[in-house]
């Protein structure tokens, strides 16, 4: 009975939202902000990827808040899982295929992750996406060899320094230009690797922070016993 009610409610809500969506102007977004940003962003920030301009220049403060939320979630998960308590009986090694595959993929993922981070202002991608790839690179060897733990001290340092670098760049812009996280260092030539001023630096900080946070989180989850002994 309860399931039937839930299904009816969900179907009704979906139908209601569909009727509302049918009234939306599909293909002609009514928002004017997007149009303005599309026209101004290349001249204002010098980044070829306009989404990056929005994330780091127009909404840089929101991105800082987003990083804080991610940090709070990672810290909360670490707290709930009880710190860095090690397993008494770690899982056995992952077999030849997993270990060899992890060894093979580690440098490739590292290069791809860094490429995605450093080209975030030119091509699709950026700090968040590249950071996740970096975290995957550091988590794969952990799947192959569960006995070797990640160095949590180094991870904490990377995370803290990257976060501090993001805020430091913002404060530098605040004192030099009068606006927190305002683009600095000139715009350069549109489409060049060294362009868009501080945006690539900010994205590098974001990428390192996200990568360190997620790999620490995955390692915490992997190192927790499924049941209390």
């Amino acid at each position: 009975m309860r399931n039937l009610t839930t299904l009816l409610f969900a179907a009704g809500l979906g139908f209601l939202l569909l009727v509302l969506a049918a009234g939306l102007p599909y293909g002609h977004p009514p928002m004017l902000v997007g149009q303005g940003i599309l026209q101004q962003a290349p001249a204002t920030t010098g980044a070829a990827n306009i989404v990056t301009s929005v994330v780091l220049a127009y909404r840089g403060l929101d991105t800082l808040g987003e990083l804080s939320i991610l940090f709070a979630a990672a810290a909360g998960a670490g707290l709930v899982l009880g710190g860095h308590r090690r397993r008494r009986r770690p899982d056995p090694d992952g077999g030849f295929i997993l270990i060899a595959g992890a060894d093979l993929m580690f440098p490739l993922l590292l290069v791809v992750g860094l490429y995605v981070i450093l080209h975030g202002h030119l091509t699709p991608g950026g700090g968040f996406q590249g950071g996740v790839i970096l975290a995957a690179a550091f988590f794969l060897p952990l799947l192959g060899r569960p006995r070797e733990a990640l160095d949590h001290t180094a991870i904490s340092w990377i995370e803290g320094l990257a976060g501090a670098a993001f805020i430091a760049i913002g404060l530098w812009a605040l004192f030099a230009r009068g606006d927190f996280l305002a683009p600095m260092l000139g715009k350069g030539v549109l489409g060049q690797l060294f362009s868009a001023g501080t945006l690539p630096l900010l994205y590098a900080a974001v990428g390192l922070k996200v990568g360190a946070e997620l790999s620490g989180l995955l390692a915490d989850l992997a190192a927790t016993e499924a049941r209390d002994p």
Partner: protein
Amino acid sequence: MTPPPIEFLLYGGALALVALGLAGLVMARHLFRSILALGILEAGANLLLVLAGYRAGGVAPILTPGTLGQPMVDPVPQALVLTAIVIGVGVQALALALALRVHQAYGTLDVAEVRGRMEADTDAAAGLEPETSRDLPAVERPS
């Protein structure tokens, strides 16, 4: 009969994901399935946001020599969805950590069973008798 326009499929798919996630969230009796349903709901909401920024015939908002002068889709919803995805990862990680602790403590992720054991635990900690319903047959009622 002409086929319905493509936007019905797109909006319908995104909204179906939302409805599916909502139904799963309410109906699932297993904590892990609830977390997965939350992920589906989130994917539907993100798709809706991206759809809202679509411009007819637009290309991705990235300036390359091939796309100069063409109409581009709205970059603001895309940036918002980028934020939402990252927040979603944080929420799921926290939820999984909590579910892991529940499993450590009670050995199960079944919602009803966990709730029953939690109530028994809190009753025992407060020194109360285990709660029984007044609707039980008379012989099973606490005297």
